[in-house]
Amino acid sequence: MAKIELLAPAGDLEKAKIALLYGADAVYVGAKKFSLRARASNFEIEDIKALCTFAHERAKKVYVTMNIIPHDDDLKDLVSFLETLAQIKVDAIITSSIAIITKAKMVAPTLECHVSTQMSITNSKAIAFYEKLGCSRVVLAREVTLEEIEAIKKNTTIQLEVFIHGGMCASYSGRCVLSNHLTRRDANRGGCAHSCRWNYQLYQGKRKVTKKDQFFNMGSKDLMAITKIPDLINLNVASLKIEGRMKSTYYLATVVRCYRQVIDEYYKVGSISNDEFLNYIEEINKAENRLTSIGFLNGDTTINEQLYDTRSEHPTKEYIGYILDYDDEHKQALIEQRNYFAKGDIVEFFGPKLENTKFKITKIIDYNTGEELDVARHPLQKMLIPLPFKVSKDDMMRKVK
């Protein structure tokens, strides 16, 4: 049985590399065309090519999202785009257009086609249709329960990909044009205004149902399925997907690393205790700034999976530094500033191979001037911090208090 894939999002090349370094087996990225997150994408073809090289050197994969639901004008240059993706050795495209699937099979047969969750596939018979088209994987709708995944798995041999973390649509994905009507921004072409998270008044006929200072809300809490990872591994799904191409490098590093550890731990030991899960959840919450739930995995959503009367965001532990190097001889780290910190702050270091390690900063030295500083004020400022333990390039530092 192949080990389950951990698939992470990335909005730019730096994030993609971090996701891979922190434990993702594959990353999915959007180019400036054909992708729902076109606005967030910083991927030129050259970046995707560089990412493919970086990933393949590490036996990892790169998927490119072509998940808009196109209008006629959007399909210009489709063939040349697909040919280019094949030439630069992208492993697969993730798409929601049968036209894109069909063209890809014709002009770029080395590209695997994964059916996007935008198609909201909820059963094995619909999967069979896409399998006949030559698709190798289906990303299941986020509305599917664990029990249903098990039933689907029994009726298909195609690879299944399941979302485990990140934002949830209130509607079936790809079946909502609320944003189009409220803002003229096309939800299925990268313009979703998240109108489902806005405040509404509810009426029954002419009678107002919502009370004064209250609203009707339909927004969803984000998904956090870390406790279901053992079940999903046991069900032999192919890939576990984290959502969030708009998310920060720090978020990606934290979340990807946690899921990597859970997956590896389960394969190694065969079980994960509740206390261990609580520790992992606590770790994710250092970067997760939205309320989370189990989504549909246990069954139909209840009030516990919905957002009411609340702004969904809460502060996270601050990401304050990115490790560029460590000098073994002088026992000091070269750190690039990401957020304000000061001498005396308690910080925590973490990384792909570094256990969380707390430390009180006693000295900050400007890397360029050698001057000792009381505070690190400037973004991307490089500084040296004496550290009695070894850290490595790509580790991160966050503020504890």
Binding site: R39, I69, P70, H71, D72, D73, D74, S97, I98, A99, T102, M119, T122, N123, S124, K125, A126, A128, F129, E143, V144, E147, A151, I152, A170, S171, Y172, G174, R175, C176, V177, L178, N180, H181, L182, R184, R185, D186, N188, R189, G190, N199, Y200, Q201, L202, Y203, Q204, G205, V209, F216, N217, M218, S220, F296, D300, T301, T302, I303, Q306, Y308
Partner: protein
């Protein structure tokens, strides 16, 4: 160009079946179809199928089916005399497989009707390879629709009148909301409306066993434009949230090609989303302040 009608109730269904001018009737199947449309049991459908010699009745199965529902879906379809059904409108490819399994693949006329996916000619042409017809999206501009239809290598079905579903969720959003507020929810209510905090439009919101649906705030309509559209065989006239008398007048207006009659009904008509292209959000759009 023919019109596909949606009778509001059984009385209107019986009436429409007897009208020679009405060639097509679309109904739902009880416990299978979703939304506030006329839904009949399989026995009732078989009964009405005997009431006309013509192939007139089509089934609306345009929702997503979960794995555990497939057996019920197949059983319900097997109970209906599908040889007398004109079209099956569907949005989930499970239907295609089930019809095949039931032995009707080459005998039944299937219509792929996924309004958010049929937005370009290339997709529509490929979807049509698996179906008799494809229903083209009503969520594109009229100009896009004209251009799309002109590029088709077959005839299509379009929506001519109605309130489109603009949000389709598996979540029981009304049930959950009323539970959260500890208010009493009238589960049979069809007249719940949403109004966004800073906007005036009212959107019907409807919940059934299969989820929650939100509808366009106004009735979109194509009328005079129909004459300019190529490759259209059928036009659907939707009836959601209309009473039987009003709907009959709407059907009459289309059959008589009487724009004045349509406007005399004082409905909240608009071209809305069809008048302007929606935005594919790109940085330059934001930078130009057009958004």
């Amino acid at each position: 160009m023919k019109y596909i009608t949606e009778p509001v109730n059984k009385k209107q269904l019986a009436h429409f079946l007897g009208q020679t001018l009405i060639t097509d009737i679309l109904i739902g199947v009880e416990n299978i179809s979703s939304g506030p449309i006329l839904k009949l049991s399989t026995a009732e459908i078989n009964y009405y199928l005997t009431k006309t010699e013509d192939l007139k009745i089509s089934l609306d199965l345009t929702r997503l089916f979960h794995e555990k529902e497939l057996a019920t879906l197949k059983k319900s379809l097997s109970e209906i005399d599908l040889t007398k059904i004109k079209f099956i409108f569907y949005t989930d490819f499970a239907i295609l497989q089930i019809i095949d399994e039931l032995g009707y693949k080459d005998k039944l006329k299937l219509v792929y009707d996924a309004y958010t996916y049929t937005t370009n000619a290339l997709d529509v042409n490929i979807y049509n390879e698996f179906n008799t017809y494809v229903s083209v999206s009503n969520q594109i501009s009229i100009e896009e629709l004209k251009s799309l239809l002109a590029k088709l290598n077959h005839k299509a079905i379009i929506r001519g009148f109605g309130k489109a579903v603009i949000f389709y969720s598996k979540r029981k959003l009304l049930t959950n909301y009323f539970k959260y507020r500890t208010l009493k929810y009238n589960a049979k209510g069809k007249n719940y409306l949403l109004q966004e905090e800073y906007r005036n439009d009212l959107y019907h919101i409807y919940e059934d066993n299969f989820g929650t649906y939100i509808y366009e705030p106004h009735y979109y309509y194509l009328f005079l434009e129909l004459d300019d559209l190529e490759n259209v065989d059928y036009v659907i006239l939707e009836s959601v949230f209309l009473d039987a008398r009003t709907y009959e007048n709407i059907v009459l207006a289309y059959l008589k090609h009487d724009d004045n009659l349509l406007h005399s009904l004082h409905l909240d008509l608009y071209k809305g989303i069809m008048q302007e292209k929606s935005i594919l959000l790109k940085d330059e759009v934001i930078d130009n302040g057009k958004n």
